[in-house]
Amino acid sequence: MEKIKSLSDLKKKREELQSNLKLREQGENIENAIVVKVAMATCGIASGAKQVMEVIINECNKRNIPAVVTQTGCMGYCYAEPTVEVTKPGEAPIVFGYITPLKAEELVTKYIAGNELLDGIIPVNYEKIDNK
């Protein structure tokens, strides 16, 4: 193993390694994070939800956005898959439908990073179990 020879070596190594723990650190402070849930039931996966999730994770990482991206079960909007739910701290969740991988990038740049809404928003009409 290569030895660490200086403070700046150590800092460099730390920066390389920090991304491995980012997910854990953000998770510990989930109430301050933007929570993104990608619906990954059969209908979602069939319509490309896996790729959508990859795109969202990568785009958020690129921009250093403190977002926690997880998958969730069928949200009941099978006609609009892939669907993605975004919850900003202190705000009500918003569900976006028909999120193709291309649209996913737009979702990150416009809504998650900025605050612009996109087409294909589905009103939230279900109760989340997590809040119970």
Partner: protein, 597 residues
């Protein structure tokens, strides 16, 4: 960069390992492989989460879900439901005892809400066997900073100003200790870590070493640089095999990266660490006895002065600190003494780790800011007394400490207040007792431990404690007199004044503090020959109330010694000569016909 979408943290502390956490990890990994998720999900063994009562603990991130009492068979459901379908496995979530609601993350659990984790900051978060994870959490950055600044006195001043005091029991200011050792010139000095942890029921130090060994290594190197020591020694009891293994791995990894060894970070400073194994004797936690044991001599204390800082290991100036003391050092350097000294009370800064045990709902390892009250610890973090019983006392400071009663429940916990209340901080054992605990028996329990552990070098401790034990035994057998109580008090004072080391000087404390706080209970034993808590077997007898007994015979059938006789459907009787007072009949009787006198 890793692309994991989920991290599953599995507790790898000794407690959870004993309840199958390695098998849980293996099952999770197997299920992950079966579903082709090895690139998406990482399973990590961490140190102790502290909530041992509900172990094994499994935590899932990033959605911060805290599963309790997980079994290897649950792996399938966790992967299928939580990871694949995004649905939490509700039945594994913690149930809040007050509201009966399921809580999905630790922030909403009473056990964690009042805690502040400094010494335990990485326990339950990183993989202790992976130095990379420690470095990612700013590991070794404090050492690098100290070496870069290259001014030992400046670092000593930071520790002094932080107000950090020793967590091993004595509470001596750590910065001052380092300063004294730094000023004694010598060709060789030693930085020693005391990981003997001999208090019955205590596991603070073990958990730190198991959960975050690098923090102790880093702090020892910092201390070594400050006092001018190139060698670090860790004295650890051989009964801690997991902690030893993790330390060995950590030392090896730190050496490979050049963070221990020759010329660390090109600073010219060299420092390496060796382990010394203790055989698990309480007295070997006392620093002079520990040093003799490390030298290969009998683990017996010697009179101070000379202090270790003057004449320690191999007669060279040595600095001894406790594991938890060390665990605070790197954070103080990175976050500043101002931050650290803003936590706690006037003369006790920072936090303290306690091993919470006894008749309390949430047994486990907790870290709380100094100044928190016993009431908060027992009722909010600890979840109150088991079985809805009444609180009676809390024992702190182990065999050197004392019992605190209800009137101290709202006293802020710190070094000075605990001493003033007749107990002490000690190393962090905290045993909660309910109304069914007999305080004479509690004192007897500690004296029994002391008699067993006294090294025998000085007579006050060797002979005196034995006599204290005999007196207490006599009282619990109902044969004590008022004179015995006076004798207990006098003898205690003599032992305190004349014993050679800290062990004997503090060993009568459990006796004195129970006499002070529970005088009536002692009197009941010697005057009325009764044990109010009903714990002393010799002082109680079981009887059958003929009016309530219907002669069902359940008691007679369950009595292990055949002491109960009677005709069918007629009141039974207990033969007192045969009865061993096990209480089985009392528990089995459905008609309230058995009573204790």
């Amino acid at each position: 960069m890793s692309n994991y979408k989920y991290h599953i943290l599995v507790c790898g502390g000794t407690g959870c390992v004993a309840s199958q956490s390695p098998q849980i990890k293996a099952s999770l990994e197997q299920k992950i492989a079966e579903h082709n998720l090895t690139n998406d999900v990482q399973v990590v063994t961490t140190g102790c989460f502290g909530f041992c009562e509900k172990g094994p603990i499994v935590k899932i991130l990033p959605d911060n879900t805290f599963y309790t009492q997980v079994k290897p068979e649950d792996a399938n459901e966790i992967i299928n439901e939580h990871i694949i379908k995004g649905r939490k496995v509700t039945r594994l979530l913690y149930i809040d005892p007050k509201s009966s609601e399921r809580k999905s993350d630790s922030k909403h659990m009473g056990f964690y809400q009042k805690q502040l984790r400094i010494a335990l900051r990485n326990c339950g978060f990183i993989n202790p066997e992976n130095i990379d994870e420690y470095i990612a959490r700013d590991g070794y950055a404090a050492l690098a900073q100290v070496l870069e600044t290259n001014d030992p006195q400046q670092t000593i001043d930071i520790i002094k100003k932080s107000g950090l005091r020793g967590r091993g029991g004595g509470g001596f200011p750590t910065g001052l200790k380092w300063e004294i050792a730094s000023k004694n010139p010598a060709d060789q000095k030693y930085m020693i870590c005391n990981a003997d942890e001999g208090d019955p029921g205590a596991f603070m130090d073990r958990s730190i070493l198991e959960g975050d060994p690098h923090t102790v290594l880093e702090a020892m190197a910092i201390g070594g640089f400050c006092i001018g020591a190139s060698k670090g020694l860790i004295y650890i009891r051989a009964e801690y095999p997991l902690a030893i293994r993790r330390l060995e791995i950590a030392i090896k990894q730190a050496r490979e990266l050049g963070l221990l060894g020759e010329n660390i970070l090109n600073s010219g400073f060299s420092f390496d660490i060796e382990l010394y194994y203790g055989a698990g004797a309480f007295v070997c936690g006392e620093e002079t006895a520990m040093i003799h044991s490390m030298e290969g001599n009998r683990g017996e204390p010697t009179f101070k002065p000379p202090f270790p800082a003057q004449e320690g290991y191999l007669k060279k100036p040595s600095n001894v600190n406790n594991v938890e003391t060390f665990a605070n050092i790197p954070v103080i350097i990175l976050k500043g003494w101002e931050w650290f000294s803003s936590i706690g009370t006037k003369n006790s800064k920072g936090t303290k780790v306690f091993a919470l045990a006894g008749q309390i709902n949430n047994v486990g390892l907790i870290e709380v800011p100094m100044g928190i009250t016993l009431r908060e610890v027992i009722y909010e973090i600890g979840g109150g007394i088991k079985g809805g019983k009444k609180f009676k006392a809390v024992q702190t400071g182990g065999p050197s400490g004392g019992c605190l009663t209800e009137k101290f429940l709202d006293t802020p916990i710190d070094y000075d207040n605990l001493l003033a209340a007749g107990s002490m901080m000690g190393s962090g054992g905290m045993i909660v007792m309910d109304e069914t605990s007999c305080m004479v028996s509690v004192a007897k329990f500690y004296l029994d431990f002391i008699v067993e552990e006294s090294c025998g070098k000085c007579s006050p401790c060797r002979v005196g404690n034995k006599r204290l034990y005999e007196l207490l035994d006599k009282i619990t057998l109902g044969k004590g007199t008022i004179d015995d109580l006076n004798l207990l008090k006098n003898l205690s004072k003599v032992i305190k004044d004349t014993a050679l080391c800290g062990l004997g000087q503090t060993s009568p404390n459990p006796v004195l503090s129970t006499i002070d706080n529970f005088w009536d209970e002692y009197l009941a034993h010697v005057v009325d020959h009764k044990c109010p808590a009903g714990q002393c077997k010799a002082l109680k007898s079981y009887h059958i109330d003929p009016d309530n007994c219907i002669g069902c015979g359940v008691c007679a059938r369950n009595c292990p010694v055949g002491a109960i006789k009677g005709e069918k459907k007629m009141p039974h009787e207990i033969n007192q000569a045969l009865c061993i007072k096990c209480g089985t009949c009392y528990e089995k009787c459905k008609f309230n016909a058995i009573f204790i006198k």
